[in-house]
C-alpha cells in the first residue's frame, strides 16, 4: 500500500487569502441549498414587484387621494425586497452555521488555521454573489413593475431623479442584510439562533420601537438598522429619517461592527 504519487516540492503552495476565496467560491456553488435560496430571493423580488405594481395600477381609481399624491412607483415595484431579505439573510447565516452544524468548520479551520481569512472570504464571496444577483433582480423587478404600471400611465423610468439610486439601493441593502447574516452566523454558530437574531434586529426592533412614545420613536427609529438601510430604496425621503446615503453608511457600519465581533469570536473561541 502506498499513497500513490506524492506532491512534488514545487507544487506545494501556501495558504493565501486569494486561495481561500477560491475555496469559499467552490463551497458556495457546490451546495444545492445555496441555489434554491438565491432563486427564492430572485423570485420574491421580481414576482412580488410585478404583483404589487399590477394590483396598485388595478386599484388606482379606488385609492384615497393622499396615497395617490405620495405614490412612489419605484418603491412599489421594489417591494419584493421585504421578502427577498429573508432569503438572503437566512443564506448569510447558513454560510457559516451550516459548517458548524455539520462539523465542516473543523476541516475549514484546519486548512486555514489563521481562521480570519475564512471569515473574510465567506463575507466577500457571499457578498459579491448576493450583490450581483440582487442588483439584477432589483433591476428586473423595476422594469417588470413599470411595465405593469405603464398601462395606467403611472410608471417612471431609470432616468427620473432618485430612481437609479433606489434600484441599485435595493441590491445594496440586500447585500448588507446577507453580510449581517454572515456576521451573526459566526457570532452565534447556530442556524436557528443566527436567523432569529438577524430578523430580530431587522424586523422586530422597529416594531418594538413603535411601542415607545412618538417623540422617542422619531428620535430612535431613524438609527435602527433596517430604517437606516432602507432609506436608499425610497425616492422621497421619509419624515424623521436620515438622508439616504447617510442612513446606508450607518447600516454598513452596523454590519462592519457585527463582522468585527465575529472576527474576534472566531479567533478566540475553540472550534
Amino acid at each position: 500500500m502506498t499513497t500513490a504519487t506524492v506532491i512534488p516540492e514545487a507544487e506545494r503552495g501556501q495558504v493565501t487569502q486569494l486561495r481561500v476565496i477560491h475555496s469559499e467560491w467552490i463551497k458556495l456553488r457546490s451546495l444545492r441549498s445555496t441555489l434554491f435560496t438565491l432563486l427564492a430571493a430572485v423570485v420574491a423580488m421580481v414576482g412580488l414587484g410585478f404583483l404589487f405594481s399590477y394590483f396598485t395600477a388595478d386599484r388606482w381609481s379606488h385609492l384615497p387621494p393622499e396615497e395617490r399624491l405620495n405614490f412612489d412607483p419605484t418603491l412599489v415595484s421594489l417591494r419584493g425586497f421585504y421578502l427577498a431579505q429573508l432569503a438572503v439573510g437566512v443564506l448569510g447565516v447558513l454560510v457559516i452555521t451550516g459548517e458548524y452544524a455539520t462539523g465542516m468548520i473543523r476541516a475549514s479551520l484546519s486548512a486555514v488555521p489563521r481562521r480570519l481569512p475564512v471569515l473574510w472570504a465567506k463575507a466577500l464571496v457571499f457578498g459579491a454573489v448576493a450583490w450581483a444577483l440582487m442588483t439584477l433582480a432589483s433591476l428586473t423587478a423595476f422594469l417588470v413593475g413599470q411595465a405593469a404600471l405603464s398601462g395606467h400611465h403611472l410608471g417612471t423610468s431609470l432616468s427620473a431623479p432618485g430612481v437609479l439610486r433606489a434600484v441599485l439601493g435595493a441590491g445594496l441593502y440586500l447585500t448588507v442584510v446577507g453580510l449581517l447574516g454572515v456576521a451573526f452566523g459566526a457570532l452565534i454558530r447556530n442556524t436557528a439562533g443566527g436567523i432569529a437574531t438577524v430578523f430580530g434586529v431587522l424586523l422586530v426592533l422597529p416594531v418594538l420601537a413603535e411601542a415607545l412614545p412618538s417623540s422617542w420613536f422619531d428620535a430612535i427609529d431613524k438609527y435602527l438598522p433596517s430604517t437606516a438601510g432602507q432609506g436608499l430604496i425610497h425616492i422621497h425621503q421619509q419624515p424623521h429619517t436620515l438622508a439616504p446615503w447617510t442612513g446606508f453608511t450607518m447600516f454598513c457600519l452596523y454590519a462592519l461592527v457585527a463582522l468585527a465581533g465575529a472576527a474576534v469570536a472566531l479567533k478566540r473561541r475553540d472550534a
Binding site: 502506498t2 499513497t3 451550516g98 473543523r106 486548512a111 488555521p113 472550534a271
Partner: protein, 314 residues
C-alpha cells in the same frame, strides 16, 4: 513528529486533559489509546490548533499548528465523526479543501482513487455510509501529502475488508517515513496496527510504551502446565517468588517462572509434561486493567459491584 508539552485543557470545572506530555516519532504507527471520554479527541483538537490548551503547548513538525503556512502539507487529520458538509459531494468537498493550498484537481482525483470512492465521488456526502464517510475523511487527511497524519478512530464503521485496508494503509504511511498517530478505544485493533502506544485515561498519561513491551507486561508470566505428576511437579517448582494454582486436576498455572525454566526442572526430575504453554492475558483485559480506574462512564451494573466503596468512578 508530534510533541505534546504538559498539555492541559479545562472546560470550566471539568478537566479534559491534564499535564499530558508525549512525543510521536516518524516511521512507525503510534496508537493513541484510552476509554471513551479519556481526552483523546480533545488532545487531537489541541494538536490541530482547533482548541486552545488552557496551558502547555502542542508542536507538530517543529511548529505549533497555526504557525504553519501550508498546514495541509504538514499535517493531515481526520477528526472524530465527520468534519464534512453533508450537502456537498465528496469531490467538491476535497476540491474546496485543496483550493486553500492551490492543490491540483489531479491530486483530488488521486486521493479519491486511493480510498476507493471513485464511484460515489459526485454524490452528496449525506447519503454516505459510516464507512464511506471514514474513507472520505482519510482522503481529506492525505490530500496534502503530509509528513504527519492524525486519525481519530479511523476503523469505526468500517467492514472487515475496510479495517484490513486501513491497517495496511497506516503501516504503508509509516514505512514511507511519516509520523502516524491513530486513536482508538480498541486495544486489539491497536495491537495489530501500531508499534508504539500512548495510553491515556481521564486526561492523564497512563502509559507510553512499545506494543511489544505492553504485551509482555500484560502477559503476566503465567504458564499453563499439564502433567500426570502434577503434585510432584508442584513440589519441585515451589519457591519464594513462585505461586502455583490449579483449577482442574493435572493442570497447574504457574506464576513467577518462565516456561523454559519449568521445562528444564521437569526434565531434570524426569517429569513428563503433556503441555507447557505461556499464557497471554488478552490484551483487551490488560488494557481494561490498566485503565479501570480511569474510565469516565461506567454501566450501572459495574458500579453496583463496587457499591460499598468509592461509588461512581468519575
Amino acid at each position: 513528529m508530534i510533541e505534546a508539552h504538559s498539555l492541559t485543557k479545562r472546560y470550566g470545572e471539568r478537566t479534559a486533559v491534564e499535564d499530558l506530555s508525549f512525543t510521536v516519532r516518524p516511521g512507525s504507527v503510534t496508537g493513541f489509546l484510552g476509554p471513551n471520554g479519556a481526552g483523546k479527541s480533545t488532545t487531537m483538537r489541541m494538536l490541530l490548533g482547533l482548541d486552545a490548551p488552557t496551558s502547555g503547548r502542542a508542536v507538530v513538525n517543529g511548529k505549533s499548528y497555526a504557525e504553519h503556512r501550508a498546514p495541509l502539507h504538514e499535517v493531515g487529520a481526520m477528526l472524530e465523526a465527520r468534519s464534512i458538509h453533508t450537502g456537498r459531494s465528496a469531490h467538491n468537498h476535497l476540491l474546496a479543501l485543496a483550493a486553500t493550498h492551490g492543490i491540483s484537481a489531479r491530486r483530488v482525483n488521486e486521493v479519491i482513487d486511493l480510498v476507493g470512492l471513485r464511484a460515489v465521488a459526485k454524490k452528496r456526502v449525506g447519503g454516505f455510509s459510516l464507512g464511506m464517510g471514514q474513507r472520505l475523511g482519510i482522503a481529506s487527511a492525505l490530500l496534502g501529502d503530509p509528513a504527519t497524519v492524525i486519525l481519530d478512530e479511523p476503523v469505526n464503521g468500517l467492514d472487515p475488508e475496510g479495517i484490513l485496508w486501513i491497517r495496511n494503509l497506516l503501516k504503508g504511511l509509516a514505512s514511507e517515513g511519516r509520523t502516524v498517530l491513530v486513536s482508538s478505544h480498541l486495544m486489539s485493533e491497536m495491537a495489530l496496527t501500531a508499534e508504539h502506544l500512548i495510553v491515556i485515561g481521564r486526561g492523564r498519561l497512563i502509559a507510553d510504551t512499545s506494543v511489544t513491551e505492553f504485551i509482555a507486561q500484560a502477559a503476566g508470566d503465567v504458564v499453563r502446565v499439564r502433567t500426570d505428576e502434577a503434585e510432584k511437579l508442584r513440589g519441585l517448582l515451589a519457591g519464594p517468588d513462585v505461586s502455583i494454582a490449579s483449577q482442574e486436576p493435572g493442570v497447574l498455572s504457574v506464576t513467577g517462572l518462565t516456561s523454559d525454566r519449568i521445562g528444564r526442572i521437569a526434565a531434570d526430575h524426569g517429569v513428563a509434561l503433556a503441555e507447557l504453554t505461556p499464557q497471554q492475558a488478552s490484551l483487551e483485559e490488560a488494557f481494561m486493567e490498566l485503565t479501570r480506574d480511569a474510565v469516565e462512564y461506567q454501566a450501572p451494573a459495574a458500579q453496583l459491584v463496587t457499591a460499598g466503596g468509592e461509588g461512581r468512578a468519575a
